[in-house]
C-alpha cells in the first residue's frame, strides 16, 4: 500500500524524517519497503498560464501555445488535444527530467523553436494518465514551482503489509502504530456535520436476510449534492496511493476507505429502485452487472445487496452498473457495512475479481468503525458537494460484535520474551495501540474490534514486543534444551554414501521428483503414479515412481549440452500412492549411472564406462556397510537390454536392479549413447548396514602367492571360477583375485582365458612348497573337472 508521508505526519504530528519513519515502522512490523520522492520528476517544472493557442502550419496534430510563466512568456509546441486558452498547466523547462527519463531539450519542429513542454500526469509521475496535458486548479499561482503548487514536496511510502494486520490497510491504521512508537495519539479527522430535520429512515429501510454474511449494514442519505471534481488536497492523497480520482462523491468514498480502512459505497438513490435495502445471498444463476460493465452469473457464494427485487451491488466487492453515481446524480444512498471475511473471500473468488474493497473485508474490517467512517464521508459530502445530510444513520446491526477481553500476565510476557519490562510499560504500549487496559498484576485488556488478529494472550505479548522493539530483547549467550542429541544412522549412511561415491568419481544429482507421467508410464506401465491435480506444466504432472526417470532426464540434459562422459548418482525418494489413510509410500532410493568414456589423460587412454564400473561402486558400498556379497541374478526388465539386466540380491532379498539401458527407451529421452544404470532400495539396506567391524589379527606367517591361467568356455562366469577356487583351496586360500581376462587370437573361438591369483597362507605355521603345490593341484583338478578348464602355460 502506498501512502503520503505528509498524510502520516498530519495524522500523528510525528515529524521524524521520512527514512527514520520508514525504518521504525519496519522494525515494528509495518514493513516500509520503498520510499520515493513524489516530486522526483518535477524539478524545473513550473506553473504556467496558457494565454494563446495557434495552429501550426502544415501540422494538424500540434499547436503552438503561448504560456505565461510570471516573469517570462514562452512559446511551446504542444500535441495534446485538450490544450486551451486560460488553463493553468505544468510547464517543464529545459533540463527537466520527466518520468521515463525524458529530458527536456531545445527542439525545432516545423521551423518553430520550443524549449519547454506542457506535461501530462504520466510525464510528471503523478498517475498513468497520458490522455492529455494536466490542467491545474484555476487558482494555481503562475510561475510557482509545480511541486509547491501541488504540495508534492512529499514522499510516497510503499508498505508491504503482513496478511494478519487488517487494521494497517489504512492511513489511520499505520498512523496508530506510528503514534504508539512515538508515544503520542492519532489525530482523527473531523466528522462535523449538520443534519437536516428530515430523518434518513423516512427515505430508506435496511433488512439483512443473511446476518452471517453481513452482520451490520448502515446507510445514510445525502440529498442535493453537486457532482464535480474533488479539491486538489483530496486528489493528491488518492493519487499518491495510486487511486484515480473520478468525481467528488466517488473520491470521498475512496478517501475514507484509505483513511479509515473501511470500504464504503455510494448509490444513486433515484436509480436505486426502491426504498429498501435487502441483503441476501444471490440465487443460483442470478445475473448481475458490476459497475465495470461485466455481466456475472452468480451463485449462493455471493452476497448480494438488493433493492428488494434486483441486485445493486456484490456486497463488499463491487457496486452495480445500474445504481452507479453519475454526473447527474443528486441524492446519495451511502453504504457502510461489515461483511464476513470468509464470505467475501468465497464471493470474490466466484466472481474472479479482487478489489480494494474485497481485500479489506477479506482481511477483516471493523464492525464498530462504521459510524465513524460513514459520518466522516457524510461530512465531506456536506462540505465539498453541498449535500444535505438527513438525520440519523439507518443502522441494521442485529447482534453487536463486542470487543474481546483478554488477560495479560506481565510475568508471562517477560517469561516468553526473556526480558524485564515493567507492568507500566506494557500498559503504555497497549493503550498506545488503543487497547483498553485495567487492573494490576493481571492486565485486563479490551481488544478493539479493528484488531481481529488478536485472540489470546500471546498476541498481546507480540504487540508489546514489536512496539517496544525486538532489538530490546537480548541475544541469549547460553545454549538451552537437550545437550546430547544423536546423529541418526540414516544420516550417517547418506553422508557415507556421498563420501564414497564422490570419492570414486561420481557426481551427485539432486532432483525435485516432479516429472512427466507419459515417460513414467513408458518405463513402468504397471506402476501407480502420484498425480498432481494442478501441475505447473504438463511435463511435471506426477511425482516420480522411480529414480531411473529423473536420472535419464539428467543424462539427456547433459548430453544435449555436450557433457557426454557421465558418472552420476542420487539419493532420493520414489513416490507411490497408498490405498488407505496412512498408507502413503515414499521409498528411499539410490540411483547410479555411467555413460560415455573414462577421462583421457596423457598416461591413460580412455575406455567406455560399462557394467563393471557400477559393479565396482556397488561392491565398494557393500564392503563399507557390511552388506556381504551382492549377487546379480538375471531378471528381465523392460527398460534394460535383455542380456544385461539383473536383480541385485543381498542374500535372498532383492535390493535393486542394474543393467544396460534399452536403446529404444533411451531414445525416448533423446539418449543415443550406452547408459548403465542401477537403482537400489535403501530401506532394506540401511536395516542391515552399520555392523561393527571386528578386528582381524595381522598375519604372522608368510604368504605363498600362486598364479593360474585357465582357458574355459566363454559362458563360464568369473564368479563361478572364484567360488570354485575358494572351495577347493579351503581355508589355506586366503584370497582369490581375477587379474586378467583374455579373448583373442591365441585362444580358440568361444573360449576365454582367465588369470587367477591365489594367496596361500596358514594361520598356524609356515607353508612348505610341497603343501602349496598339493593344494594348487587340487584347485587345478577341480577347475578341470567342473569347467573342463585347460591350464595355460605362462
Amino acid at each position: 500500500m502506498d501512502l503520503s508521508y505528509k498524510w502520516l505526519k498530519e495524522l500523528t504530528g510525528v515529524d521524524w524524517p521520512v527514512e527514520e519513519m520508514g525504518e521504525r515502522l519496519t522494525l515494528s512490523g509495518t514493513a516500509c519497503e520503498y520510499i520515493r520522492a513524489a516530486d522526483a520528476h518535477m524539478d524545473r517544472v513550473v506553473v504556467g498560464e496558457v494565454t494563446d493557442v495557434q495552429p501550426v502550419e502544415g501540422a494538424s496534430k500540434i499547436k503552438l501555445a503561448t504560456v505565461n510563466l510570471g516573469k517570462t512568456k514562452m512559446d511551446v509546441i504542444c500535441g495534446a488535444p485538450n490544450v486551451d486558452v486560460g488553463q493553468t498547466v505544468p510547464v517543464a523547462l529545459e533540463g527537466a527530467r520527466l518520468a521515463g527519463d525524458m529530458v527536456i531539450k531545445k527542439v525545432k519542429i516545423r521551423g518553430i523553436e520550443s524549449s519547454a513542454m506542457i506535461c501530462s500526469e504520466r510525464e510528471l509521475g503523478i498517475s498513468d494518465d497520458h490522455s492529455g496535458i494536466m490542467v491545474l486548479e484555476d487558482d494555481a499561482r503562475v510561475g510557482v514551482p509545480l511541486a509547491e503548487q501541488l504540495d508534492y514536496n512529499d514522499y510516497i511510502m510503499t508498505f508491504e503489509l503482513t496478511p494478519n494486520r487488517a487494521d494497517s490497510m489504512s492511513a489511520i491504521g499505520i498512523a496508530r502504530d506510528l503514534a504508539a512508537l512515538a508515544s503520542t495519539k492519532v489525530i482523527k479527522p473531523a466528522t462535523d456535520l449538520k443534519e437536516s430535520s428530515q430523518k434518513a429512515d423516512s427515505k430508506i429501510k435496511v433488512r439483512i436476510e443473511d446476518p452471517v454474511g453481513c452482520p451490520r449494514y448502515a446507510a445514510r442519505i445525502i440529498r442535493n449534492v453537486k457532482i464535480g471534481p474533488s479539491p486538489w488536497w483530496m486528489k493528491k492523497k488518492l493519487l499518491m496511493s495510486g487511486v484515480r480520482p473520478i468525481s467528488n462523491i466517488v473520491d470521498i468514498t475512496n478517501l475514507v476507505m484509505l483513511e479509515t480502512g473501511h470500504p464504503l459505497h455510494a448509490f444513486d438513490l433515484e436509480r436505486f429502485g426502491s426504498d429498501e435495502v435487502v441483503v441476501r445471498r444471490a440465487a443460483d444463476k442470478e445475473k448481475f452487472v458490476t459497475l465495470d460493465g461485466a455481466e456475472h452469473t452468480l451463485s449462493s457464494q455471493v452476497l448480494l445487496i438488493t433493492n428488494g427485487k434486483t441486485g445493486v451491488a456484490a456486497g463488499g466487492i463491487m457496486g452495480g452498473l445500474d445504481s452507479e453515481v453519475e454526473s447527474s446524480t443528486t441524492d446519495i444512498l451511502l453504504e457502510a457495512a461489515y461483511f464476513d471475511p470468509v464470505v467475501i473471500r468465497r464471493g470474490r473468488k466466484e466472481l474472479g475479481m479482487v478489489t480494494e474493497s474485497s481485500m479489506r473485508f477479506e482481511k477483516g474490517a471493523d464492525p464498530n468503525g462504521i459510524p465513524y467512517a460513514i459520518n466522516r464521508a457524510a461530512s465531506l459530502m456536506q462540505q465539498l458537494c453541498g449535500g444535505e445530510v438527513l438525520a440519523g444513520i439507518v443502522d441494521c446491526y442485529p447482534e453487536e460484535i463486542k470487543p474481546k477481553q483478554i488477560s495479560l500476565r506481565p510475568a508471562r510476557c517477560n517469561y516468553v520474551l526473556g526480558v524485564h519490562l515493567s507492568e507500566e510499560r506494557m500498559k503504555e504500549v497497549l493503550t498506545g495501540l488503543e487497547f483498553r487496559v485495567s487492573g494490576k498484576g493481571t492486565l485486563e485488556t479490551e481488544v478493539p474490534t479493528f484488531r481481529p488478529d488478536i485472540t489470546r494472550e500471546i498476541d498481546l505479548i507480540e504487540e508489546i514486543a514489536r512496539i517496544d522493539g525486538y532489538d530490546k530483547i537480548p541475544d541469549a549467550t547460553a545454549n538451552i534444551g537437550p545437550l546430547f542429541t544423536p546423529i541418526h544412522f540414516e544420516d550417517k549412511f547418506r553422508s557415507d554414501v556421498r563420501r564414497l561415491l564422490t570419492g570414486c568419481g561420481f557426481d551427485e544429482m539432486v532432483n525435485h521428483g516432479l516429472t512427466d507421467s507419459h515417460l513414467a508410464a513408458l518405463l513402468n506401465p504397471d506402476l501407480s503414479q502420484v498425480k498432481i491435480l494442478n501441475p505447473v506444466s504438463a511435463d511435471l504432472d506426477i511425482m516420480r515412481n522411480t529414480l531411473v526417470q529423473t536420472t535419464l532426464n539428467v543424462i539427456s540434459h547433459n548430453i544435449a549440452h555436450r557433457n557426454v562422459d557421465l558418472c552420476l548418482f542420487e539419493l532420493g525418494k520414489a513416490y507411490q500412492p497408498g490405498n488407505g489413510e496412512d498408507d502413503w509410500c515414499e521409498y528411499q532410493k539410490l540411483s547410479l549411472a555411467v555413460s560415455g568414456n573414462t577421462p583421457h589423460t596423457w598416461r591413460d587412454k580412455p575406455r567406455s564406462y560399462d557394467f563393471s564400473d557400477l559393479a565396482g561402486a556397488l561392491s565398494l558400498l557393500g564392503e563399507h556397510f557390511g552388506w556381504g556379497r551382492l549377487n546379480f541374478e538375471p531378471q528381465s526388465n523392460r527398460y534394460f537390454e535383455r542380456e544385461i539386466s539383473f536383480a541385485i540380491m543381498c542374500g535372498n532379498i532383492m535390493v535393486g536392479i542394474v543393467g544396460k539401458m534399452n536403446r529404444k527407451i533411451a531414445a525416448e529421452f533423446e539418449i543415443k549413447q550406452d547408459v548403465y544404470l542401477a537403482e537400489l532400495d535403501l530401506n532394506p539396506l540401511i536395516a542391515i548396514s552399520g555392523r561393527l567391524t571386528e578386528y582381524q589379527p595381522l598375519p604372522v606367517y608368510p604368504a605363498a602367492p600362486r598364479d593360474l591361467a585357465v582357458v574355459v568356455d566363454d559362458h563360464v562366469r568369473a564368479g563361478e571360477l572364484v567360488e570354485t577356487v575358494k572351495e577347493a583351496g579351503g581355508e589355506m586360500a586366503e584370497s582369490v583375485e581375477i587379474f586378467d581376462l583374455y579373448r583373442g587370437k591365441q585362444i580358440a573361438a568361444g573360449k576365454k582365458s582367465v588369470a587367477i591369483s591365489i594367496n596361500y597362507r596358514s594361520k598356524t605355521g609356515n607353508l612348505t612348497a610341497a603343501q602349496v603345490d598339493e593344494r594348487q593341484a587340487a584347485v587345478v583338478n577341480k577347475l578341470k573337472e567342473k569347467f573342463k578348464a585347460q591350464i595355460r602355460d605362462k
Binding site: G29, T485, V510, V554, P577, T601
Partner: protein
Amino acid sequence: MSLLDEVTRIKQEALEQIGKADSAERLAEIQVKYLGRKGAITAVLKGLKDLSLDEKKTVGAAANKTKAALEQQIKDAIEAFSAAGEKTGFDPTLPGTRSRVGAIHIVNQVIDDICQIFHGMGFTIARGPDVETDYYNFEALNFAPDHPARDMQDTMFVEGDRLLRTHTTPVQARTLEKQQPPIKIITPGLCFRNEAISSRAHVAFHQVDGFLVDEGVTMADLKGALVAFCKAFFGEKLKLKFRPSFFPFTEPSAEVDISCFLCNGKGCQVCKQSGWLEILGCGMIHPNVLEKAEIDSEKYTGYAFGIGVERPAMLKYRINDIRLFFNNDIRFLRQFG
C-alpha cells in the same frame, strides 16, 4: 718460486675460476686451460723431466693430485649445472596423475553446513514425507481454514486428498505429536509451491526448519541461537536485524535480515543497495500449535525457524539462476566439487 708453489698457485687460481664459472661451457674452457694438452698443469707435468729425482717425486705427486682434484671439481660443477638445468628428459609440467573425485551437490553441501552448525548446538535431524496431508501442512500449524496458502494457486495438490508440502514445518507438527519435550530438532528437505519456473522462482526448493520446545525457552534464546548460526554460516562480523512479521505457527514472529556479506552492509547490487539481506523467518511457537499436539503450552514454550537453502546459496556463491540447482549440469555441479 718453486715449482711446488707454482702447482699450489695454479690449483688456487683454477678453483677460483671454477667457483666463478656460470655455465657448463665456461667449465669446459677452464678444463682446457688447466688440464688440456697445452694446459697449465700439463705444462708442469711436462717440465718434470728437467727436475731432480726428489723434486720429480714431490712436484709430480702434487701435480697429479691437483690434476685429479681439478678434474673431479670440474666434473661435479658441470653436473651441478645440468642437474638444475633445463633440458633433460624429465618434465615436471605434465599434469599430475590423479583420480577424479565427484562433487557433492551444492544443495546438500549447504544443507550439511547448516545442519552441522545446529547439531553443534544440540539439534538432531528429523525428516518427514514430501507428500503431506492438509492437517500437518496447515491445520496443525494454525493456518486458518481459508488461509490463501491453502489455495490451488499456491499449493500443489495430489490425487487422494494429499498435497506437496509447502514447507518442512509439518515435520515439527509430526514430531510434537510423537515426542514429549524437551525436543530439539532440525528438519532439512524438499518443499513445493505452485509457481511458474523462472530464473528467480522454482516449483521446488529446499528448506531447513528447526525448533526447540522445553521449559523456559524465551525469545532471547531464539535470538541468541540465530545470531550464533548466522555468524557461523555467513561470517563472524555479521550484523542481524529482527523485524516483526507474521507466520500462522509462530507468535511473536520475526523475519531476520543480515548485513550483506558481499558489501559488508555498504550497499551493493545483490542487497539492492539496502545493505541488508532477508535470510530467514522465525518466532516463538504458537501455543495453538503446541496445544494441537497436546503439549502443555503453559509449562512449555518453544521457538522455531526456517531457512531456505537455494536463496542463501545463490547469494553466497553468486548463482544467478535458481534452475541450475535442478538441471544437474555437470559443469555446474563440478564447480562445487
